[in-house]
Symmetry: C2
Subunit: 232 residues, 2 copies
């Protein structure tokens, strides 16, 4: 990896860059994991991981009710990324389940959904929290947010993106009602539930332990928690 | 407007640029409409229109069963755009209805949904058709597609974007079932149904008369049709 920040085709978008330790805490300088090692995604932070084709990523909901905002980018062409609108179109379904391909904006499989010990309640409809969300909720000053965590996690391994694709919100529980309204409920997962994704191409994945502490998406007590992951 | 192509903060993304007349048929060099004039969006093509705050855009489904892929960008900061994932989050609902704000990725209102003579069946879940979609459908060579129409329509008025936001698919009929599956049905709109959007900020909107002719999203006969619009 180059020592200087690798300029992806996108310029930085000039938004607030984020102020938490995500930026200074990569799992390795180039994001390459040590196979079998258990890593933490601390509450309110994000981590980027470089996966080789054939590797498997296990994401663990250690405390049971933490939402993980999840993204994946083609390692050699980051303009290609996991896209929720392409995924729904591909599957003709709102939410992926075990066995499904996770497809990019180029309609190629970047990951396969291999295992899920939870009841399978995940969200593809809602955007990441961002600084604008917390401003609307009345927060003054900075608030950790998943969009900034994505940018910081990538920058921590010397990558940049201005694009914040719509995330796969693991364990987020926002059911669609018959009238098209979207509910806001707490996760139904339990401690140590996990999902496993298999990399179908070399890719960079990012996980954010959602810092939402004003709306109970991460459990009723509004206390964001750590997540863990392993690459196998 | 500068005579040379104005470089937006994004670089062009290197995808096929598109081969139809969208690129050479802007409504005006700078996209500014003549108020009250009826404009065409020819079948399979796209058009970009520059709206001033306070203007209203009327989009007419002239033949009744044509889907219109629709986007909107902040005129002064095109990294801010109408975002389906932010819209669903804002509304806690899959689809906007008359009276709703249409919000951007900065969670601001760019347009207000003012009128709708159709039954209100629109889609926010599915991505635009793109060259990859038609390749997967077995098309050899180029096929018109909404993603390219967006890029060409912008370029025709000397703007560029590599970002293809998830579109608001006007009149597209893809109902969500109780099990989370997404149906593929034909529009329930009738000839001359229209929607009206009011511009809440200076913005650039793009309409594409979806060229899908292999899957019956634009009516049972798979014949893409013209749309029309007026700015008032």
């Amino acid at each position: 990896m180059s020592e200087k920040v690798k300029q992806l085709p996108y310029e930085d978008n000039g938004e607030p860059e984020g102020l938490n330790a995500t930026l200074t805490s990569p799992i390795a300088a180039d994001g390459r994991p040590e196979p079998g090692k258990r890593y933490i995604v601390p509450a309110r932070q994000g981590r980027a991981v470089r996966l080789a084709q054939g590797q498997r990523l296990k994401i663990i909901n250690t405390y049971g009710s933490q939402v993980c905002d999840f993204w994946a980018f083609n390692a050699s062409s980051p303009r290609e990324f996991l896209s929720m609108e392409h995924l729904r179109t591909w599957l003709s379904r709102l939410t992926p389940v075990v066995g499904d391909p996770l497809v990019t904006n180029h309609r190629r499989t970047i990951l396969t959904f291999l295992e899920d010990t939870s009841p399978g309640v995940h969200d593809t409809l809602l955007t990441s929290c961002d600084i604008y969300r917390y401003q609307k909720l009345g927060v003054e000053g900075y608030h950790d947010n998943c969009a900034d965590n994505l940018r910081m996690a990538l920058k921590a391994i010397k990558l940049r993106t201005a694009e914040v694709p719509s995330p796969l919100n693991l364990w987020m529980n926002n059911p669609v009602q018959a009238d098209g309204s979207i509910g806001w409920l707490t996760p139904v997962s339990k401690p140590d539930d996990y999902v496993v994704f298999g990399a179908e191409m070399d890719c960079i994945v990012v996980m954010s332990a959602c810092p939402q502490d004003l709306v109970p998406v991460n459990g009723k007590d509004c206390q964001p928690a750590d997540l863990h992951f392993e690459v196998i």
